[in-house]
Every structure is written in structure tokens, then in C-alpha cells.
Symmetry: C2
Subunit: 150 residues, 2 copies
Amino acid sequence: MHHRHSYWKDKLKGSGCRLTLPRRVIFEVLNSTTKHLSAEDIYFMIHKKYPGIGLTTVYRTLDMMVRMGLVDKFDFGDGHSRYELLEAQDKQHHHHLICTKCGKVVDYTDFIKEEIALVKQTEEGLSKKYNFKINSHVTQFYGLCDKCKK
Amino acid sequence: MHHRHSYWKDKLKGSGCRLTLPRRVIFEVLNSTTKHLSAEDIYFMIHKKYPGIGLTTVYRTLDMMVRMGLVDKFDFGDGHSRYELLEAQDKQHHHHLICTKCGKVVDYTDFIKEEIALVKQTEEGLSKKYNFKINSHVTQFYGLCDKCKK
DNA sequence: AATATTAATGAAAATGATTTTCAATAGCAA
DNA sequence: TTGCTATTGAAAATCATTTTCATTAATATT
């Protein structure tokens, strides 16, 4: 785990950014959950212990982490952006399965292998045909979860 | 073309909705472009000829068309929802390639065949494993277009 | 065609997530 | 310890979208 901590701290310092309490706290929250938290979620989670940290700072910090390539930002269509730590080395590429009723999100890695091959092939084809430099892709499935199906 | 018109008009009537001027105008705009318009885009496009049609109505009409399954709503990450007519019979399933700098969007259908197979397989697997009823999926590629690559 | 019913409309106000502003604070290099 | 300046929190601003509500217009009925 330590290597992961130093990784982002170094990256921060390297860009002339400072290692502050809010940044450490927000990183820790992201680092200790598998959930897809919104800025507000994080704000409330840390507010009891760190009432001094404002929602503005949470937004700013998440933004910074996204720009640094440390965090991924997702939109599941419910009006709140969600943030997820990209654990550089050991995190598997995964996609999302979203319940449109209750908002439940499942990370799945099934079929990812086949998909990676297809995506790579698609990326190459599209890059060539449309002259795009492709940087990322999103695949999401929407539906009703176990409970919401009734 | 006529069959397409009657299709949506019938669907409208069928749900006890009325065929109004704003609805006809907004449908026509969507029906005569391949672009991915936002509510505001549509509002400005029709404003000269129909200054009486308000932005609120554009939003309401688009919403209704989405609920009716006539229109698809997309989020390309620029803070504006985009709307696209689903031309029931002849529209090919397609995905989007989005330039993160200028916002240019390319519809592509390349590799769609392979993808459909994979998606079907994934859907079945996920449905079973996670007990989801999957209704739709989104695949988008993000990158830099020809010009923005420089 | 005239009328009655009620869905649909537009203007203005409200909402709510996110951003910006700005004066005060706190990392960190010297 | 000091000084520089990045970072912060609070409050205000933004801005896409929604809601409210009195008015208008589509359509079924007469």
C-alpha cells in the first residue's frame, strides 16, 4: 500500500501542488471504499471528523485528482458526478452496470478480456478512419437490479 | 417518410397526448438533422420562425419524446444533454466518438457487428450473474479530433 | 361549426449541482 | 523563523433544467 501513497504524493509535489489535510483526507476516503462516491457523499463522510473541510474544497480536490489522472469521474445519469480512485497498478479495468431505478452500481470485469480486444480493434479502426487520437472510452449498461425488477 | 411521421403521431395520440405546433416543429428539426442537438440548440434554431415557442416547451417536448422511446438522450460531458431521433425502422445502431476539446461528435457504425455479438453475450452473462434486467447500453470513445490534435 | 374539457404552453421563479470570488490561512522552500 | 504563494472556506454566482401557475389551444362532443 505504501507505494501507492507515495505515488500520488510524489505526483502532487511534482506538479508544484501542496500536500494538505483536505487532500489527504479525501484521498483516504476514496482509497478505502469500492463505492462510487459523489462530492457530496465525500463531504458528508468527512464532515463529522473534519467539519472544517468545505464542499468547495472537495470539488476542487476531486477535480485536481481527475486532472492528475489519479481519479476517474463518471456520470451515471442521476445528476451527481461520481468519483473513483484509479489504483494505478492493481486495479482491473472494469465497467458499470447501473440500476436506473435505485441507482445501484455494479462494477463488473466479466467479459472484459473479449471486450478489451474488441475495443482495441475499434480504437485502431476509428483512429485511422476518423483521424482521432482516442484517449478513453466508457461502456455502461443500464437496467433494473434484482430488487427493482420486483 | 410518411410512415415515420404517422408512427410518432399515432404514438402521441395513443397516449392521450395532443399534436401541437411546438411538438411538430421540434420533431421536424430532429428529423432533418444528423447532428446531436441540445435543447438550447433547438430553441435557437426555431426561434426566428416560431418566436412563441419557449425553451421550457422544448425541454418538455424532448422529455416526452424520450419517454415515448422516440428520442435518445445523451450526455457527452459538456454540461448539455443532447437529443437524437431514433428513426425506428431504418436507423442503424451506432456509437459516438467525441472530441474532448471542440466537442465534435462522430457517429460510427464500424465494428458494430462484432460489438453487437459481444454486447449480447455480455448482457446475457451480466443479467444472469447479477440478476439485472438490462435495457440499454452506452459506449463512447473520447479523444481529440483531427484538428484538435494539431 | 360552436362549445366544453383539459392537456399544453410560456414567463417567471425555483432548483440544485458545480464554480467563482476573495480575503484569510497554511504548506514549504530558504 | 520567515516569506512567498498555493490553498482554503464562505458566500455569491452560474447555468442547465424543472416547477409553478394563469392562460391558451387541441380535440371530443354537441
